[in-house]
Symmetry: D2
Subunit: 136 residues, 4 copies
């Protein structure tokens, strides 16, 4: 299992008139978490795109327990339970506020795709190499 944590400061444009982060914007928080989890491996999501591979989201499931508020410094936990064996990768996520309250959980499924042909691809070998140590 590979687990990574990223802190994100909630800025004004993420709030709505309910006085909390707009629910759809949680997708951005989870995405930033995934990006930083890859960076913490010494890789970058833009390196994946530079290989001609994109990762469209095919399934997004987010549960909301408590609101995130303006200026909260939330922690996004990004969890990869399995190394993908084919074109499909499933991420789990959790978001906590500074009081360590669980605000939200998510399961997000993405495909590796060749950007030009829009056909299914595998996870790049370089990235598998970076991840293997976390999965005995």
């Amino acid at each position: 299992m590979y687990v990574s944590e990223t802190k994100i400061r909630i800025h004004y444009a993420l709030t709505d008139q309910m006085g909390v982060v707009y629910h759809g914007h949680f997708a951005q928080l989870y995405e930033i978490g995934r990006t930083e989890s890859i960076r913490q491996l010494g890789f970058a999501y833009k390196d994946i795109e530079a290989l001609g591979i994109i990762m469209p989201v095919v399934n997004l499931q987010i549960k909301f327990f408590q609101p995130a508020k303006y200026d909260d410094l939330v922690t996004v936990k990004t969890i990869l339970k399995e190394i993908p064996h084919n074109h499909k990768i499933i991420y789990n996520g959790e978001i906590y506020n500074e009081s360590n309250n669980l605000l939200s959980t998510a399961e997000i499924t993405m495909y590796f795709m060749h950007a030009k042909e829009m056909t299914r691809a595998n996870m790049p070998e370089e990235l598998i190499g970076k991840l293997e140590g976390y999965f005995e």
Copy 2:
């Protein structure tokens, strides 16, 4: 069952560098669909907020089959299968492009809450009245 349709033109800020609508922004398309479905009943979501009731999203599930693209005139179908009997309402949604391809489906669960006390509320009677004719 109450079904409503709304057309939305995809504008530039909804796209990302993959050249398609950013996945998280589909939450906005489904929300516009819900808002217009209420308006088509002769009510308005802001009337609900004026009654001191808010409707936070507690569960968001979106599946993505094909991308939505800049300037597409998509149709959002908003489906209410049951009148809520308590604080919980479940919406289903479908998004189609102009070629009638199904781009995405969603199931979105919201709670009716008293905005001040942040306690559970029921669907406003006025809105139930507008909906009853669609459910025998």
Copy 3:
């Protein structure tokens, strides 16, 4: 002078916790106005991109007089005072609410650029042809 009007319904994600449309999102309202002003000529902004030309914004000036609110049906007036003679085009914009109060004005400067070479381009001939009738 070519003047065009477009109506836009303010949706939830455009609001912030001040209870009004987030100031930065007015750029989107003005952009939708420009896009629709081109469509009303029988052309489309995506036709311009299909010609290999993009139109990056180089200068954005927006004044805010009154807030736009959730569910307002605002009118965006898009004004082109001169046909561009080179790579530069200047749009003026005005936004009104349903009570005809002026909420905002803008002056937005864009360049026509060849997308691949990122060199300056002229306004496409087809678009000039559509516009000439409005400028004697």
Copy 4:
């Protein structure tokens, strides 16, 4: 003069299909810069709102010289040239990429307003106190 610097990582949702940060989203980058400039003084923008004062933007002027790209770690420089003597505050901003190229400059004017009465207010005394040392 009070100058402050903040680093922001460009995330995916800020990009558009031109492959660069959407022009309207620069307002968010400048806003994050302002927020962090206040935090670096030992204050917080939410403390200002807690005093019943809001700061709507009344004038936004942004110039764009070079695009900001996905995953860029940009530096936002926030500059306050004068302590406001009335309800009006003018910020200047500059955004640089990692190669120290100037991407954008801005001048942003805000008003201090009493949130309830929507009447003009002055800058809170606490904030003036924090700033005075920077202006002899």
